[in-house]
């Protein structure tokens, strides 16, 4: 009797893709180590230098995760824009809330 078989053709490993993934992993690893170096190397008096450095390195890591791991870098332009433009609201909220935090600090503590 003839057996019914589902023919599933397994394609060979895409080596170029895997190489990209390994490259991104290495970048994330190295950037995290740099963050550690800054965490212990830069004194807490330089608060704003620390804040700016850490946030820039975090955004760098976020870029690689979103663009390569989440594949957004390879989607088409309208899709990228639909997902990236709304982040402007977050940027707006960051500025008003940090400003507000400073105002509360001046009012309650720094009178």
């Amino acid at each position: 009797m003839e057996q019914e078989t589902n023919e599933v053709v397994v394609q060979p490993l895409n080596r170029a893709k895997v190489r990209t993934f390994l490259k991104v992993t290495l970048i994330l690893f190295v950037v995290t180590l740099i963050e550690y170096a800054f965490a212990f190397g830069i004194s807490h008096e330089y608060k704003w230098i620390r804040v700016v450095l850490f946030i820039s390195l975090t955004l760098l890591k976020a870029y690689y995760i979103v663009a390569e791991f989440m594949h957004l870098g390879h989607e088409n332009k309208p899709f990228k824009r639909a997902l990236i433009f709304p982040i402007v609201f977050v940027i707006f909220l960051i500025f008003i809330m940090i400003y507000q935090g400073g105002a509360v600090f001046d009012l309650l503590i720094n009178r």
């Binding site: 589902n6 599933v8 053709v9 397994v10 394609q11 060979p12 490993l13 895409n14 893709k17 895997v18 993934f21 992993t25 994330l28 690893f29 995290t32 963050e35 550690y36 800054f38 965490a39 212990f40 004194s43 807490h44 008096e45 608060k47 620390r50 804040v51 850490f54 946030i55 390195l57 975090t58 890591k61 976020a62 995760i65 979103v66 390569e68 791991f69 989440m70 594949h71 989607e75 088409n76 309208p78 899709f79 639909a82 997902l83 709304p86 982040i87 609201f89 977050v90 909220l93 960051i94 809330m97 940090i98 507000q100 935090g101 400073g102 509360v104 600090f105 309650l108 503590i109």
Partner: protein, 244 residues
């Protein structure tokens, strides 16, 4: 008659005129992305609240060696997060959270490998890499459970009292410090937990051959997006709680 038909066909070639997919992605993936965008707003709001409350308290600016815990100023992370399992009483600042970060990043890497295997219709590969991803997620959750337990149970001091934190009070700094820590890492941890559950469901369905019958492994890509998002949020939580 035939001329109108041609006119409609011409119109449909417009990207936003209907009849084509302007994003060139499947419905499920687009919706997962939009859900993640809304979730990104939620996490942004939480982390910005952390920034707001932190900036409305004085910052510590002296030397790290002279630092003492006080409700007067915001604590510095390398003094709060210095515990390590099996290393009782040894100060290992930020080492444990570094391990947690690498566990989550590596589970993201195994996830892209699972997605890649799915695109090649390689069922064995999907099963293997999904299992590694689930393992990474469970390891991360275990680490977080240990860290929470360490903070809630606390350290017994010489006079017999406990040095421990709760939502309402904590010995490390101003009261909102611990409430924000528990709320934000807890919300992220719950995302990791649901991610592990989704990954397990997809692993199970791959194992039973569901995707071979469907003819594609797109569900692996969708849960993959969710899983990478959880990793992405952790990158930010890590920066704001453990580094800045």
């Amino acid at each position: 008659m035939s001329e109108t038909a041609v006119a409609i066909d011409e119109e449909k070639k417009d990207l936003w005129g209907g009849g084509v997919s302007p994003f060139k992605a499947s419905y499920g993936k687009i919706m997962m992305w939009f859900f993640l965008l809304s979730d990104a707003f939620t996490f942004s709001a939480l982390l910005i609240t952390y920034g707001y409350i932190r900036f409305s308290h004085p910052a510590y600016s002296g030397a790290v060696e002279d630092f003492t815990f006080s409700a007067e100023w915001w604590p510095i992370p390398e003094k709060v997060f210095e515990a390590m399992p099996f290393m009782h009483g040894v100060s290992m600042p930020l080492i444990f959270v570094g391990i947690m970060t690498f566990v989550l990043i590596l589970s993201s890497v195994t996830m892209v490998m699972a997605v890649e295997a799915g695109q090649r219709m390689d069922r064995k590969g999907v099963e293997k890499w999904m299992l590694w991803t689930i393992l990474g997620g469970v390891a991360f959750l275990g680490c977080q459970a240990w860290e929470w337990n360490h903070f809630i149970h606390g350290i017994q001091q010489a006079d017999g009292s406990f040095f421990h934190a709760s939502l309402s009070s904590n010995p490390y700094g101003p009261p909102p410090f611990a409430s924000l820590f528990f709320f934000i890492t807890g919300f992220h941890g719950f995302h990791v937990f649901s991610g592990v559950v989704f990954n397990f469901i997809i692993f199970f369905q791959a194992m039973t051959g569901k995707f071979e019958r469907t003819g594609h492994y797109e569900m692996v890509e969708k849960v993959g997006l969710y899983w990478h998002f959880v990793d992405l949020v952790w990158v930010f939580v890590f920066t704001f709680f453990y580094l800045v």
